[in-house]
Subunit: 700 residues, 2 copies
């Protein structure tokens, strides 16, 4: 991987190495030595001859050879000079620990830009500044001041908060969690989360990529890369700054803008990224992903030596949307024959309070062999006869014998289960502090497995009249008009295969009556003026007109009253339009997120959308499955399907509408925001009508 | 308190005490001795002379004096004989550890009933059978086989799962959490959760009552008692068997029925009971409630030495519905003057990575003095200069100096913060493993504080015609008719002050036209038959009839067609009724829960109620505030208030409808189920109309 020199350097120079204990420049040096690093270490400090027994150099140049990696701890103002020195001797990898850059304001930002310019010119890759460093346990590299080298393992961790990484290290060391790589990305002036997942994706030592991020520099590129990687290994992200308060804190802290929450949510979903709510949850998940196979489905069997925790697990399984496995008859027979009469041989399998390890073993074997079981949760409470260590041993043994299904454990207690928990850890069985967190982890695994097995994304391309839309959009932009009016919005939709209500503009009552006659009654009249956006507010909409007289009356009243209310408005006439009745009203929309591009929206139309907020989002371009899933993600879907024997609407047609809209906004990045509201849909076989639309465009 | 002999007995007999290590009869004896119990212990075992140096008695009688508490460990079949012996010598308090009763089936149930009969006759109170025992650390009583005596503290814990209690004890001992009392209630044949909260309510050693329950024996009495106690001290319950899978597991395990989830939810809410989702959450909460004052409001200030965790806390504060405190100008000024320039002097107060304890101290003082702050969360990550112990010390000091606001801490890490965490525990500052769980705890405290400060519940009684309803209900029950028809349902509603649509029964088209004339058009026609419940399904409802001819036509068509479809139906005529248009349709309803009695329901009317499930529940009788809160708990409320400038409806009138319905179902326990759907409500000042109603009754 391209970041090899950071994680497995042949030699390391530490610029700003210090003799003084407690100083960062001393801590990094002793951490490198303490890790057992096998390459050469060159402390650089003009004021010292030797530090910790290593020869010290007055400058990088004085080393006489090119260090593979340079770690910089000198004060911020001295960093550009060090960078120039690095450039001169051909160094390609630098970690800048030093703080005092972008995060402290304009002056620091200028300094950081200067550093970046030097790096770019010389082809130097930089981690930091304002970071904790980088760690690679298997390579005995601890280029950080985060603490002792953790054990080697399959989890890579990248963090935008150095302090958090230090806390994670401390916790991981206490519980024996191992890592492949740990990186504090700091201000990520050069190397950012995208570079790191690119490097970690193909890294054979990394089975799980986990991270804490406050912002994502290039959202679109990141999720595109993440989507590729998620097919090979899971990415677990804790993304903070989710709420308004959080985002405020985020921008004051990192000087970077946080993306909008909805956009993150659906981009992460699309990319298969597993979003974690807390660091604890992230490590709950990471342990299982790193050490256990994925479940083939959602059916969970529980083995317990006490009823209470079994019920808690059952509750959690149902609440989280997993399935409480129904054991196969042969399993039940096997358990009945082997377990005491009082045992529960159905799920949760209760091996009873006096169970020794042997009962757990046979219950585990039976559950793992059961074709109706996708994952097994082993619960243990310390009772008088309980063999915590023995039970842990048989669990590890069964996991090795039958490695195709995930096994998670929750041994409740502390001192009494300590030995057992240690054996589980050693045997790579993830152990949880509560049934709920174990079940939550299985849920995350099942969701990820489902994501991995979804069919390949194929976006259907419809035959459309792209040129027509191009003309309309470009004309508006040339004239600096950024809101496209109803007529041309509908022309754009028609060009993309949407059907809009029939109708024409009338300039006299006579004409209006004629048009209505041709359309057939009832009709709708709408005032037609580029200057009137909210027609209803000025009495400019009249629906359900049923005859010539009503049409004439409505026309004349509009033409009389509205100019009085809005004397400045340029009124071009009145639109006479067919009524679209009998269908259900939904809204199809799009919002272009500054980071992630077009986000499609679907929901209930009319005023209900604002009250109930029953909408779903997904990034364009949409596949047919994704469009249908957007419908399924709303409660409106139930209504569309038909409630209480009432006839449903043409669901496929709604999904197709979303796909067509997705194609339109994908092909025209100038469209910033648009919605079709209401989109009136009728029973199967009928054509939905785009009754009204709003489109806004922008120069790109 | 009445259960004094269980928690502070003057002497204890252990019937079934054993010499054999590992046996429960041995473990309980050694646990009592190991706890340092100061009263006399009488082991009872005919086969031993002495156990663990204590003289052993062949029978209870042989002791020669009456033990204050008897613990029974003999096999189930021998328990009745021991109970009879207890009765004979006047023992009043017995803990039956022995299993093999109700939980193993019919035979065991019979045995348990026998035990209970003896106890009742002799006035003996019993904990168990099938339990772990009882513990009172301050009294040096460990009448259990749950493990070592925990330290004394302010939390009482009662558990329906003995194994879980053992695990809790083990965990608590590891983290130094103290208890006032711990009780395993087992099959709760006599003493149950209600007896225990009654005893723990006035217990001066108990500041927090916590428990794990799978079922509640007398739901109504329990929540009534809990509501009283909640005014003095919080009750934290983990109630499992919440979901279908859980409830199945629960009933197969404990042989007791779990109440319905909705009922539990709203009864707990009414009683101020704090429901916990996991044992971990319960102890997160319990620690804070036991050791910290309640916050006066929802405004939280965060102090941190690192940005990342500060953002996490800010996110959590917003997501959980708390308020991110806006610091007072004087606080900001104070902090600006005292902290380094790079520090964030707004919330979250970032004292920076190199902060020593002194910065935390001044930030804490400023935050506690700030009138805009109700609670303070202290975050710490272990960085190079961080003083974990020192920071813990100043936190404890500030908590003592300014004891009116709660302080919670989250020191992230393990080894590096261990000393600090110990000092916090010692100083009664609750410490959390993540910002999220600390914030969740503050939320629980703020909610409970709000519950405590709500005004006294006053249920308004309306002037009603109770006699009329009594007549209708009793006549139906005498005739074994359990569904009350539309006409009489409406009479009942009218007797309780509801307005129903005007109308009369017509038996000829002529009559129908006359009635319609009197009512004024438009009208509704409904077929009138005790045998037709779903009128629409047979074409028995016709709405919006606008003139005599339409009424005559509709009448004749119904009278011609319906008898053909339903030749058996006894058709009494056609109801001609005024149309209630222009309002919004809501549903008011009631379901009588077998445990908790009448639960009121409010929601959107029509088919939407089934799709969107936008309903709220609350137990009757309702106060005006509670009725209004039921409205507020739905999204429908937004629609009722009026969306987009649209006129709203008379909210007070809807709330009054709920209160009147609440009075009806409270005064008539025979009403099992009823709803008014639709209840049509118009703008302020108009009277809502109960358009349709269904009532079912039952003998009570």
């Amino acid at each position: 991987m391209s970041l090899e020199s950071f994680f497995n350097p042949e030699s390391v120079a530490i610029v700003g190495a210090s003799r003084q204990k407690g100083k960062v420049g001393h801590e990094i040096l002793t951490n490198m030595i303490g890790a057992g690093y096998e390459g050469r270490i060159f402390p650089v400090n003009p004021k010292a001859d030797a530090i910790e027994g290593l020869e010290c150099y007055p400058s990088l140049k004085a080393i006489g050879s090119k260090p593979d990696l340079v770690i910089v701890i000198v004060p911020a103002k001295a960093v550009p000079a060090v960078m120039r020195e690095c450039a001169k001797i051909g160094v390609k990898s630098v970690i800048i620990i030093t703080a005092g850059f972008k995060e402290v304001g304009e002056e620091g930002k200028e300094l950081e830009n200067q550093v970046l310019r030097i790096a770019r010119q010389a082809g130097i890759r930089v981690i930091g500044p304002n970071c904790l460093g980088a760690i690679a346990p298997a390579n005995k590299v601890n280029a950080s001041f985060g603490g002792d080298l953790p054990s080697a393992g399959a989890i890579a961790y990248l963090s935008q908060s150095g302090a958090l990484l230090a806390a994670i290290l401390d916790m991981a060391n206490a519980s024996g969690i191992g890592f492949s790589k740990l990186v504090s990305i700091g201000n990520k002036t050069d190397i950012d989360e995208l570079d790191l997942i690119k490097a970690l994706g193909p890294d054979p030592d990394t089975k799980v990529i986990a991270g804490y991020l406050e912002s994502i520099s290039d959202g679109n590129a990141f999720v595109r890369e993440a989507e590729q990687i998620s097919h090979q290994k899971p990415i677990l992200l804790m993304k903070s700054g989710a709420t308004e308060a959080g985002a405020q804190a985020a921008s004051s802290h990192t000087g970077s803008l946080a993306g909008s929450e909805t956009a993150y949510e659906c981009m992460f979903e699309r990319a298969g990224i597993i979003r974690c709510e807390s660091i604890k949850q992230q490590f709950d998940y990471a342990q299982a992903f790193a050490n256990q196979p994925l479940p083939a489905g959602p059916r969970v069997a529980v083995i317990t030596n006490a009823g209470g925790p079994g019920i808690m697990a059952a509750d959690a399984i149902e609440q989280q949307g997993l399935t409480f496995a129904k054991l196969d008859d042969t399993t039940v027979a096997k358990l009945s024959a082997a377990l005491p009469a009082a045992a529960n041989v159905h799920n949760p399998i209760d091996v009873l309070g006096d169970a020794l390890a042997d009962r757990y073993e046979l219950a585990l074997e039976a559950a793992l062999d059961d074709p109706n079981v996708d994952a097994v949760l082993v619960l243990l409470t310390p009772q008088a006869m309980t063999e915590s260590a023995g039970t842990a041993r048989v669990t590890v043994k069964m996991a090795r014998q039958k490695p195709s299904k995930p096994i998670l454990a929750c041994f409740l207690g502390a001192a009494k289960v300590k030995e057992g928990v240690g054996i589980l850890r050693e045997g790579k069985i993830p152990q949880y502090d509560s049934p709920e967190s174990a079940v939550g982890t299985i849920k995350a695994m099942a969701d990820y497995a489902r994501w991995r097995s979804r069919p390949k994304r194929v976006v259907k391309l419809f035959g459309v009249n792209r040129r027509k839309v191009e003309n309309i959009v470009e004309r508006h932009l040339r004239q600096s008009v950024y809101e496209i009016g109803e007529a041309e919005s509908k022309e754009m939709l028609e060009a993309y295969g949407f059907v809009t209500p029939k109708g024409s503009i009338a300039t006299t009552a006579e004409q209006a009556a004629n048009i209505a006659q041709q359309l057939g009654y009832p009709v709708v009249l709408k005032i037609w003026s580029p200057d009137i956006l909210h027609k209803s507010d000025v009495g400019g909409v009249k629906v359900g007109l049923k005859g010539e007289q009503q049409v004439r009356d409505a026309f004349d009243l509009m033409m009389y009253r509205i100019p009085k209310k809005l004397p400045e408005a340029n009124i071009l006439g009145v639109l006479v339009q067919e009524m679209c009745g009998g269908g259900k009203e939904v809204i199809l929309g799009m919002n272009r997120d500054p980071h992630f591009g077009p986000l499609m929206m679907f929901g209930m139309g009319g005023i209900m959308v604002e009250v109930l907020k029953d909408v779903s989002f997904y990034p364009a371009p949409l596949t047919a499955d994704e469009a249908k899933q957007m419908l399924l993600n709303t409660k409106t879907y139930q209504m569309l399907k038909g409630v209480r024997g009432e006839e449903g609407v043409d669901i496929e047609a709604v999904a197709e509408g979303l796909q067509r809209l997705s194609q339109l906004v994908t092909e025209f990045p100038q469209i910033q925001e648009m919605d079709i509201n209401p989109y009136v849909v009728g029973p199967e076989g009928t054509t939905p009508i785009a009754v009204d639309a709003r489109i806004s465009v922008q120069q790109v």
